[in-house]
Amino acid sequence: MSKYILNRLLILVFVVWIIITVTFGFLHSIPGGPFDREKNIPEEVKRNIEARYRLNDPLYKQYLDYLLNIIRLDLGPSYKYIGRSVNDLILEGFPRSALIGFLSILISLSLGIPLGSYCALKQNRWQDHFLMLTAIVGVSVPSFILASILMYFFSLKLKIFPATGWGTFKHLILPSLSLSSFSIAYIIRLIRSSMLDVLSQDYIKTAYSKGLATRTVVLKHALKNAIFPIVTYLGPLTAGILTGSFVIEKIFSIPGLGRMLVVSIGNRDYTATLGITLFYSVLLVSFNSLVDIVYMILDPRVRLSKKQMI
């Protein structure tokens, strides 16, 4: 089993290296060089960048410098905000985005899993159909559209929640809800089909014939087995919440990392854009590898088959 973990970690390092290299390639593939493109760079920034990047060095030397900087966790100076480094921007924005992201994941799981299980139990009855319909709508309506609608009704018309800004708990609710709409719906569908599969198994029938109540059967036996697809989904879930955060933070004017990325895109702040993208990419890839390892630990079937393979 530890061989598998080592394998995953090696792949992780390899993928991260590829991402870094590709990012470097992007940075230097812009015709005319990234730093000449905009005519109106303030002189200070231009001098800083030229000194720092030693643009006259041969390409491989620049690449090695870039690589070393990354390992030292230095992502470079921001183009637009003179004097501030990309690291500063990330450290400031990420905790806020992480809070909303975490909240969204929590909402998705704590709403999606129970509702999906409920659907499986009431299969083909009106509760099932109704929730399924809601789920398919949740999957189809883009989060930013839902966010705008929620903001319109709850902030502008009913004035329950603040429309924009940051600071109190109330500011967190609408963003987290809109961000999680797709995942809640997807998890409901996923758990429903997974639960249906599990519930048709023999050991569940045995449990029922022992006289156990539905609640016990589901909570003690079925849920543990139905949850595997959700673990696998955690990877794409996080990726989705991450990309979703770009627009959600823009709509609700939340000073998080997602909005910072969108702003730096608009400002053509190349170092910030690529630095933040790199940060996000590494985060996602690491999380995916973690999920893979956790899945392997949780599922005894995979563990056993891996043992046979070694």
Binding site: I30, F144, I145, S148, I149, T273, T277
Partner: protein, 288 residues
């Protein structure tokens, strides 16, 4: 004893009959047909163009003159929405086609050749799969000019991975089927096997994957346009229309409502159809 024999249906006919019974899926098809007509014929029928500005008439609510109202520059929203439909449909179809061609070719070759070649090819796919591609689409759009062609390329590059995986899985399982060995022992060439036996059985899962790719592509395009990386003004995609609408949400909510409705309904329709197709082609149900 009756001499009557029930006609056996081909796999497609069976799937078609089952699909027809699925009400949501049929509604989805009707919506898509309407959408296609809306996009292709619509702009011809309106008397406005998508870029005509008429500043005196800005921010009008829907009326008999401007069926969906006007935007901040006095442009007719209905016409712009129709052009938006064109873009969404084009994006969905082109991205899916690219993913189809590359994905089927790659997955087919990998699955059919098997062995080491397959392992290497799939390792490559796995590694690419690990890279968060939406982020790279964003980076691509930042560095190279945002524009429709670049969106097509970016989306196609991202979606072929999934298709390749599915095709390869199918080919692998089909290769082992008895009828393939039988035909092989009769002397059928590889090419014959590929075209006459394997490809027809791929069509089910491939079509389902394609149908689910389209709403994803439409979503990604509207997402990109929403953050300003998609089509540029005055060209109108539903995403950029929604972005403009969000800004004016307090004064002119119709500007957001209609493009949003367009995106949502289109994605809903394709999801219904995709679900319907998947259930219709489900081999577990075909046995019955």
């Amino acid at each position: 004893m009756s001499n009557k024999r029930k006609e056996s249906h081909s796999i497609y006919r069976l799937a078609f009959l089952r699909f027809r019974r699925n009400r949501l899926a049929v509604i989805g098809v009707m919506i898509i047909v309407f959408l296609i007509l809306f996009a292709i014929i619509g702009p011809v029928l309106t008397r406005y163009s998508y870029y005509e500005q008429n500043l005196d008439n800005a921010f009008q609510i829907p009326s008999s003159r401007y069926l969906l109202g006007t935007d901040q520059l006095g442009r007719d929203l209905l016409t712009r929405t129709m052009y938006g439909a064109r873009i969404s449909l084009a994006v969905g179809i082109v991205a899916s086609l690219i993913s189809l061609i590359i994905g089927v070719a790659y997955g087919g070759i990998s699955g059919y050749l098997g062995g080491k070649v397959d392992m290497i090819m799939m390792r490559f796919v796995d590694i690419l799969y690990g890279i968060p591609l939406t982020l790279f689409v964003i980076v691509l759009m930042v560095l190279f000019k945002p524009g429709l062609t670049n969106i097509f390329i970016a989306l196609g590059v991202v979606y072929w991975l999934n298709m390749a995986r599915i095709v390869r899985g199918q080919v692998l399982s089909l290769k082992e089927r008895d009828y393939v060995s039988a035909v092989k022992s009769l002397g059928a060439s590889d090419i014959r096997i590929i075209f006459l036996h394997i490809i027809p059985n791929l069509i089910g899962p491939v079509i389902v994957t394609l149908t689910f790719n389209i709403p994803e592509a439409i979503f990604t395009e509207s997402f990109l346009s929403y953050i300003g990386l998609g089509v540029s003004a005055p060209m109108a995609s539903w995403g950029s229309l929604a972005a403009e609408g969000t800004i004016a949400i307090r004064t002119a909510p119709h500007l957001l409502f209609f493009p949003a409705l367009g995106i949502s309904v289109t994605m809903l329709a394709f999801n219904f159809v995709g679900d319907g197709l998947r259930d219709a082609f489900d081999p577990r149900m075909i046995e019955s």
